[in-house]
Symmetry: C2
């Protein structure tokens, strides 16, 4: 069997952990597997390098920042190759240039265009474990680039697709995907399976185990992903095509506190008003998420919407600056809100799910401020202080079996 094993920064944060990862790989190698390992940088390396750059410049060149950051994975990968050799495992580290991971030229947030897998395959054919630097690639000018958040997961999936791996294992500090955040919901339980779409909703909505870019890519190339613990044995959670996941109705409940609500009050009831406001936000690269439009006093209307908490203050300032031009009355910002979401393929086929979810929230006195839905998701916006209570109540109704 051919497999990709990806380990994150906390799994390789010091020499002891690197040796532990090497032992883990040895165990797989002994089964006769062909193995590509994808690594992140050690622990806080990336943050340390960013801090160093900030000592040099307030706004460092993105091209040079990527040149700087790509060293982090080269360090961890070469160290792991040493640790593997020490255990008698033939291993070689490969950086993005050697592994031929080609990206576009968006520094700091590059997308993988293709991987010429010849070198990796040659190393596997020679019986070696290939240890590939995650989170990086090279563009057509031979510049080194980083892939942005969750980049090492994406590297792992891209390599799995390129070499036709049977499985792509993501090792992390939890032992799989849970029906809810165990810190909030005590009786949350590990899922054996989840569909790509379910995982995408979970990833987007705050389950920080897998980045959605890697899940999207896994879905597109039909790569079977497994999320498992780097610390203990266990089957983890398999992420695969929805059709393969029988009888799976509800995946889980997520809570996302990193959200803020803005309300624009007393807009003239003219066509295109909402579009014009959202267009100004879009120019500043601010994404609008949930939207509620309502008719208010005097035939005027109010528009309420949510943005990421990181963009909240900027969005408020932009809209406040439009008051005269667009002639609305006021804008308000509330950063103390949360999104509680219920996710699962069972939602689209079962109209009753939404009703049961709202009832569960009502029963514990949680007020719903906004609602949005997709085929496999129902999201409600609630007061941040009520989000944990609400999530628990919803989990109890759908997942406490």
């Amino acid at each position: 069997m051919k497999k990709v094993m990806k380990f994150g920064g906390s799994s390789v944060k010091d020499a002891i952990r690197i040796k532990r990862v090497a032992k883990r790989i040895l165990k797989e190698k002994k089964k006769g597997e062909e193995i590509v390992v994808v690594l992140s940088a050690m622990g806080d390396t990336t943050d340390d390098l960013i801090a160093l750059a900030k000592e040099i410049s307030d706004s460092p060149s993105k091209r040079e920042m990527d040149m700087l950051l790509t060293t982090g994975e080269q360090v961890s990968s070469s160290l792991l190759a040493m640790a593997l050799s020490d255990l008698g495992v033939n291993a070689i580290s490969l950086n993005a240039f050697q592994a031929r991971i080609k990206t576009n030229s968006v520094y700091g947030n590059a997308k993988i265009k293709n991987i010429d897998s010849e070198r990796i395959q040659n190393e596997l054919d020679a019986g070696r474990v290939a240890v590939v630097t995650g989170f990086q690639g090279i563009n057509k000018n031979e510049d080194m680039l980083t892939l942005g958040r969750g980049g090492s997961d994406t590297t792992a999936v891209a390599i799995a697709a390129a070499i036709g791996a049977d499985i792509c294992e993501i090792y992390t500090d939890v032992d799989g995907i849970y029906t809810g955040d165990p810190r909030i919901i005590e009786n949350a339980r590990r899922l054996d399976y989840i569909s790509y779409d379910g995982m995408l909703e979970m990833a987007t909505l705050g389950a920080k185990v897998l980045h959605n870019r890697s899940v999207e890519m896994a879905k597109r190339y039909n790569v079977t992903l497994v999320v498992k613990s780097s610390l203990e044995e266990g089957d983890g959670t398999r992420v695969l095509e929805g059709k393969a996941v029988e009888g799976l109705l509800i995946d889980g409940v997520t809570v996302d506190d990193d959200v803020a609500r803005l309300a624009v009050i007393g807009l003239l009831n003219e066509p295109g008003m909402a579009f014009k406001i959202f267009n100004e936000l879009s120019k500043a690269d601010i994404n609008v998420d949930m939207i509620l439009q309502s008719v208010g006093r005097d035939g005027k209307k109010d528009i309420t919407f949510t943005v990421s908490i990181d963009d909240a203050k900027e969005a408020y300032n932009i809209i406040n600056g439009l008051k005269e031009r667009f002639g609305f009355e006021d804008v308000s910002l509330d950063e103390k809100v949360s999104k509680v979401s219920l996710i699962g393929a069972g939602i689209q086929s079962n109209f009753n799910v939404a009703t049961k979810m709202f009832e569960a929230l009502y029963n514990v006195g949680v007020n719903i401020q906004m609602i949005s839905t997709s085929e496999i998701r129902i999201t409600v916006l609630v007061d941040e202080e009520e989000s944990a209570r609400g999530a628990k109540a919803v989990h109890d109704v759908f997942l406490n079996d």
Copy 2:
């Protein structure tokens, strides 16, 4: 004018120094120069990475060690490029792969085979300062390798030769090459000029400013080297073809304490005996330097020779193990010896120089244990405690003007 500027690890050991180096480069750039910068890793980075590898493995793979160490210069180079951009200087960092520095495959001590200078030249043509990682190259398998001690100097000279630079400036923490070590010889003075051959002797014999590999390469490709201070203004010392250095008789006096003397006593006076002993040392990669053979008692002979202090104990043990096989009486080791050398083109044309040097030593009561000479060098082995006194006396006679 096209120039290469090389800065060592202590010149870029923290953000403050990196910014200072950037200002220095800005000053040159303002004169309209085309500039390639070659950098070492920051301060103790290389040592820190080696220590990290030792935590993983007692004998780390050399291929992986090079992969690990090459990150050091990539970090310093990208940071300097950021600092230059901040000063408004268009700059780009290039690692060995991007700068196309091709080496052989001797990990840890690779030799540069050639540099395809197209990328560097393109960056210069675009008005950029190219900041190239020193100390590293890539081989035909696209592995990354380090060049061994003094490697960044060698990179600088090799690039200067490849791009046809007018000058290669080596910035360091002293302001040039001195007639003697100022810590020993108070009235040592800075040389304005020195020949390649004179510099080679000085470099080999303990003036640690330039590594001899870089000087050899500069001589071969006729690259004008300048050694200057990274901290203060000044002309430094120019290293160039001997013929160009008129009236230069004596370059300086060096002291090398990193030497040990071995004496093999009572060898049978048979042909090939010395060869057989040195052959055993050669198998262990131990170089023999000065050699003295003398006829002793009973028609037997003694052989005295020097080795590097690092090899002394191993050499002693090897020879001691040969006692029965070769039938000699004893072997002794003296680590408390020093080489004092007088260097200069004036030596070959002036028989009197040696006599004057020996007289100077005699006058201060320094006993000469061994002598060796080259066309432009006279070296004597003396007691380590007497080396400073001897060197001062020799310097006074030849260089105190």
